[in-house]
Amino acid sequence: MKLVVAVLKPFKLDEVKEALKTAGVQGMTVTEAQGFGRQRGHTEVYRGAEYEVDFVPKIRVEILVDDEQAAEVVDAVVATAATGKIGDGKVWVVPVDTVVRVRTGERGSDAI
């Protein structure tokens, strides 16, 4: 089993979600995040005082998948989230040791 983690531009979430549904993904977890990458941050001004904000709003998506599905899911995320401009985000895959469905106690692939 694998955990696919993607940090993306927030407005791409809808498209990514639809693409993942089409790819047969049954569920995902989404968190609002603040990120720091090669994309420049921005300046805010309050009452004449300038503030640098290096972090930009991102959305963090986590998807649990079977080993053989991981590549397809990564491709789907990359294909839909790309705008070609800096700040599109990153996707990475990590191996998962154990997964349990809380309601039934099912383990491993059955729990995905």
Binding site: F11, D14, E44, V45, Y46, E50, Y51, E52, F55
Partner: protein, 518 residues
Amino acid sequence: MLGAVHNVPYPSWLNTGDNTWQLVAATFVGLMSLPGLAVLYASIVQKKWAVNVLAMMFAGFSLVLIAWVLWSYKMGFGATSLGGGVHDGVQTQLTNVGWVKHFFENFVGKPGQILNAYNEQGPAVSAANTAVPFHFPTTTLAYFQFVFAAITPLLFLGSVLGRIKFSAWCLLVPLWSTFVYGVDAFLLWGGGYFAQEGSLDFSGGYVIHMSAGVSGFVAAWVLGPRLLRDRKNAIPNNLVMAAVGAGILWLGWNGFNGGDPYYAGADAAAAVVNTNLATACGVMVWVAMDAWFSKPRKPTFLGAVNGMICGLVGITPCAGFVNGWGAIAVGAICSAVVWIAWNYLSKVRPFSKVDDALGVIYTHGMAGFLGGMLLGIFGDPKTLELGCGTLNSAGQVVSTTQSAFVQSHGGCSTFGVNGLMYTGSSHQLWEQFRAAIWVVFWSALVTFILMKLIGLVLRGARYSDEILEIGDLAIHDEEAFPEETLAQRVGISTMAGDTPSVTSRPPDSGPPPGVADS
């Protein structure tokens, strides 16, 4: 000291009760814009647009006042510029001149400032009100009328927000206020053509709400829609603050309608209660229709706010011209009809093709039109006759019975309210209809021309898609709810007493000074 002269800091024509109430009422109406409408709109847009809405609200309010005192108050409430029946605030009814001449000679007032000392503190005059003189100075009337002029463009900000350039807004507001509001205010309130013909608009169902609804719709059409994503995700950011804005709007309306008799008298009191009554009915009708007829069949809070606005707007042209039963009918009918329009008409062209962001055409445009027309049905002639007295030469009110007053004066107004229900005549309804058609036509035409002109001058009146993706941060460098932890002040200077921050403290050096071990 018998016979001593007591000086008072006001002239004999001034009535302190009238002046007090008028200034209080004006302040209430001002509070409807800032913060009422500003907070309501800023809370029901997405978080990323809240600051932009607030900035445009404060700028719009300011711009209208500057234009108002320099030229546009006189356009609405001064002497006619075209030689018709209104001279120096006194109306001289034209007869047998034909309606075309009558119309154009009573079209708009002559622009002028009201800033010198006499203009500010001299007695207020208006051609629309020659029967009973005003008992407060020009600036009281001008400020009271200003807060109405100011809220009107702020209302239709709800149609164009989420894409209009700040600069385009700052051009549109004073131009629109001059050429649309100035003209309609004169025609209906300043003693112009429709006022002389007998069309009535108590506090602005036509001049304010219908005009705002139509203008917003046309401006939104010229401007084009918001981003698809903004339309798909157009959810409010704070319903609690929306309640604060909506509540200020409702109670502020006590000044809106309660101030429009211009006298702190019986009709003001009736207008206040009628306003609240119609609004209460508007709220409950919308909530009930949500609960019974909407797809999820749930009562909704934002539905209650919509119903509230329908009731308030619907009763605005009628407030002091209907009785309490009329108020109930007006509030309920406006809310029910607008609910149907909101849920069904919105799926039909042209409504389905124009992105009127907050739906101003429904709750203000349609409710204003309905209220104005319903006045032609429920307008009660007796509302104007009750509560009149006469002053003696010392400026004191002489006791007058109503029937004696009405017999000797034939009523205390130069105009009448003649609803179909009470007189059996549909003439009032016809005059209401004619004025409605005019206001729709003029608002739409002039707004269209102004938006096209502004688009030419600014090379587009809307922001680029890149800016629209970001919203407040791209336009103002501010956001509604900034995160302290993520921001670092640029170029902060050190000051006496600064201690090194906790994170820069070397490890194992113990707790910082002043922190006791626990």
